[in-house]
């Protein structure tokens, strides 16, 4: 048994960064709390670097409950980089707030929870990670202390608590069946009770992933919470939840009754279709993006449905996750930079800030899946996985949904090229948006590096 804590170095770095950040924040003057952002940023960078070193070592199972394999490693890097981008965005927004340090610490803790969701090899670790990923996010959602933020936080919390309890019921049921909570030992648990346990377990995962039927919080939180927080909660927890779900499906569901595959496929269809249809007539860009993230969760569920039937499922999911994270953060960074919520508020952006407008076009067309952006490579892999895994119809549905999604993304792009007078964009957020857009293009071109590792 591997009990070497260094296998968990990236997680420990994130935890250590959060603790040191919290202590530093408590003993620092309010105008110097920016130091905490640097601490958290360093911890995240350290975690990404440590992962790079961990990736060259052979796969291992730490403490018999935590898998260190490519799935975990890619999630670690993706989460660390995405959170780092959010921390930079947050540094502009939270500056001068009397609880500035808490923002960074809460972001870091929620990110840690997301990573552990992906690495967990035991249902109890998974449940703990669920709470670590959720509770800081509830606090962040209500951070602005205004009416809408409070409402968003309350909805988020109630939904999360409700579905979390259902998930815990599933864990209990499965434990009762086999007397263990380890994924490997639970694999192949037969019968209706095991199927029921899996179903209950899905409730919590779908909440974190923002997929149907656990999606109701997404639009309200995205609209009500501060935009930086919205960027975070629609991106990072989703990465952890979907990577974790892939592990659950590969290691645990696969032996059970085959009925879960069509179920996941149907959830995927419902999620992408509902997200797209609801996004059609949104005039608020944050609600539009919220529904877009729901539909993206639908595409991301496709590789989960075919895992084990095709070798493409894991690279497809991981690549799509990384691509989605960068692209979605880029789109949110544009919202943060411009600071307007209505589609009409983006008129004149192309004239006022051509770079930012270009970043918006790249990110939104990226979310559509236009080559050569990263999401195109992700979608290509997802479609290929679906066809190869015997779910060609799912690929067809995804194609139809992709075409439908063009409509609402264009509704946002077109006003940017009309005449108008938008406010001066925030410089830091503009840079983050341009960086994310560039990264989305580079990742698409450099797909090779990711795929050979995946």
């Amino acid at each position: 048994m591997n009990e070497d804590p260094s296998a968990l170095l990236p997680e420990l770095l994130m935890l250590g960064g959060a603790v040191i950040g919290l202590l530093t924040g408590a003993f620092t003057r309010r105008d110097r709390q920016r130091a905490v952002a640097w601490i958290c940023g360093t911890a995240l960078t350290g975690a990404a670097v440590a992962t790079a070193f961990a990736a060259v070592r052979p796969d291992t199972m730490a403490f018999e409950a935590y898998a260190v394999d490519p799935l975990t490693n890619v999630t670690r890097v993706t989460v660390a980089v995405a959170t780092l981008l959010v921390v930079v965005l947050a540094a502009g927004w939270a500056r001068g707030n009397r609880r500035e340090a808490e923002v960074y610490v809460l972001l870091l803790l929620a990110a840690l929870g997301a990573v552990v969701l992906a690495g967990a090899g035991d249902l109890l670790v998974f449940a703990a990670a669920y709470l670590v990923a959720s509770i800081p996010a509830y606090a962040l959602a209500g951070f602005a202390e205004d009416g809408r933020g409070t409402e968003a936080a309350l909805k988020y919390y109630l939904m999360g608590a409700f579905l979390g309890v259902i998930m815990l019921a599933g864990v209990t049921l499965l434990y009762g069946l086999k007397g263990t909570t380890s994924y490997m030992s639970l694999a192949g648990a037969p019968g209706a009770a095991a199927g029921c346990g899996i179903l209950l377990l899905l409730a919590g995962v779908l909440f974190k992933a923002g997929a149907v039927p656990g999606h109701f919080w997404v639009p309200d939180v995205t609209e009500g919470a501060p935009p930086v927080v919205a960027a975070f909660v629609t991106t990072v927890p989703k990465i952890g939840a979907l990577a974790g779900l892939l592990r659950l499906a590969t290691e645990m569901f696969d032996g059970a009754d085959a009925g879960w595959r069509p179920l996941v496929a149907l959830i995927a269809v419902a999620t992408m279709t509902l997200g797209n249809l609801a996004a059609f007539h949104q005039d608020n860009v944050r609600r539009l993006l919220a529904y877009s993230t729901i539909s993206q969760a639908g595409y991301l569920l496709i590789p989960v449905a075919v895992t084990g039937q095709t070798g493409l499922a894991r690279p497809a999911l991981l690549f799509y996750l990384a691509a989605y994270a960068v692209t979605n953060l880029g789109a949110f960074a544009v919202v943060v930079a411009v600071g307007r919520d209505s589609l009409a508020g983006y008129a004149g952006l192309a004239r006022r800030a051509p770079g930012l407008a270009l970043a918006l076009v790249v990110c939104l067309l990226g979310l559509v899946g236009t080559p050569p952006t990263a999401v195109f490579a992700g979608k290509l892999l997802v479609f290929a996985a679906a066809v190869d895994g015997g779910y060609a119809w799912l690929a067809v549905v995804a194609v139809l949904n992709t075409v439908a999604s063009v409509f609402y993304y264009l509704r946002w792009i077109v006003p940017a090229f009309r005449p108008g007078e938008p406010p001066a964009p925030a410089p830091v957020a503009t840079r983050v948006a341009c960086l994310a857009a560039t990264a989305s293009l580079l990742l698409g071109v450099a797909a090779a590096l990711m795929l050979t590792r995946g």
Binding site: A384, A395, V399, L451
Partner: protein
Amino acid sequence: MLTIVIFLPLAAATLLALRGLGGRRAIWVWIAATAVDLILVAAMWLGYRGGIGHETRLRWIPSAGAGYHVGVDGMSLPLIAMTALLFLLCAVYSLRGTERPRSYAALFLFLQTVSIGVFAALDLLLFFVFFDLSIVGMYFVIVGWGHGDRARSALTFFLYTFLGSLVLLLGFIGLFLGAEPHTFDLTDLAANPPFSGSPGSAAPVLIAIFVGFAVKTPVVPLHTWLPPAHTDAPAAGSAVLAGVLLKMGTYGLARIALPTLPVAWQRYAWVIIAIGVVSLLYGALVALAQENLKRLIAYTSVNHMGYIVLALGAAGLVAGDVRARELAVTGAVTQMVGHGLVTGALFLLTGVFWDRARAYELNRFGGIAANAPILTALTAVAAFASLGLPGFSGFIAEFQILAGVIGAGAVVAGALAVLGILITAALFLRVLRKVFLGGPGELTGRVTEVRPAELAAVAPLLALSLIIGIAPRWLLDLIDPVAAALVALVSR
């Protein structure tokens, strides 16, 4: 060298986007970049020695067998040359003035990179990347510089063709998964066709690929995006859309579907022939009923592309004479080049009407020959070239297609196609009579003579069509070997 030809326009576009050049200077940079590109293409043509020339092959996603693989042969080289020429002349045409010239030039340069990229790509993914980006570029041209109900037309265009391209992508994934070992490389796929063990699964893949390209071509009944997109696009945009973007559909059929799915293509050859015949007759008949000049020309494109689909379908008739099938394919490629030249010229000429009178309705014009003899002459020549009068490229192409199709055994289809030519002749004569002859219409007074920039843009296209029509050997000698190779590939 080919890579430079592909990316030179994009580099020029980046330069335009970064440096704040004034409007007029931006157009001159655009002309210079396209002219250099055309010279490079000419040099490539002179240096071409058969087979796949100017090839570059770099690995991109090794595990997926995808890479940066470009090269030219007798089919892609003429199309690349036609593309480079048409873009240069669009730049010259825009000298007469346009709104926001800097972004306009940058967008067209981007489109040029994408279009040449499609014709040069020898890797399915690379092909798809360029193919899809052409939609994005054209969307912005229509929505930014179009007229009429442009937002709606552009959206229809985007959604319709994007759906087509994604169906195509599913087909490509099918080819990828059907090949052993899995690869996206076109030369490997053609050398070793997928689904050799299971012909049954080739049919859905062929359907996906055919539908994907049929939307772009377009083929009846998937053509409904075309008339509004053409009508509301700016003149140069229409010229590029009809001259270059439509060719991507038929080129894709010839380049990808034929060699990689030979068995399925043979089996469905008659279906494809029927689709081609319906398309060319329907396009011609609907064009005959149009009262809007630009819509009319748009529908003649449906007609002309129908001949190409018909010819490619006839190539799959293995029972037919090999020489005849090769003739049909040669005709199809010639038609692609010729149609690009002539329809490009026609659309640029409609731009003259819009510029002067802001209208396209045939019955509001009349007797223009009196005020604008050169415009009349150019339009008349373009119309005769388009209807396939001997002496122009259209005649060479359509004669080869009809002779090949009938020779390959599809006699009825060939006879019906002749009917299509007859209708086209009638409709162009009707246009000439209504617009240029007879008494003056309400807007005739506004139509003035062509300006030098317009003349310089249109005349070379018609001259080249005439040269191909009179002395086609230099072009046909290039196409013949690749047509023979294609027929050999599809007969496996």
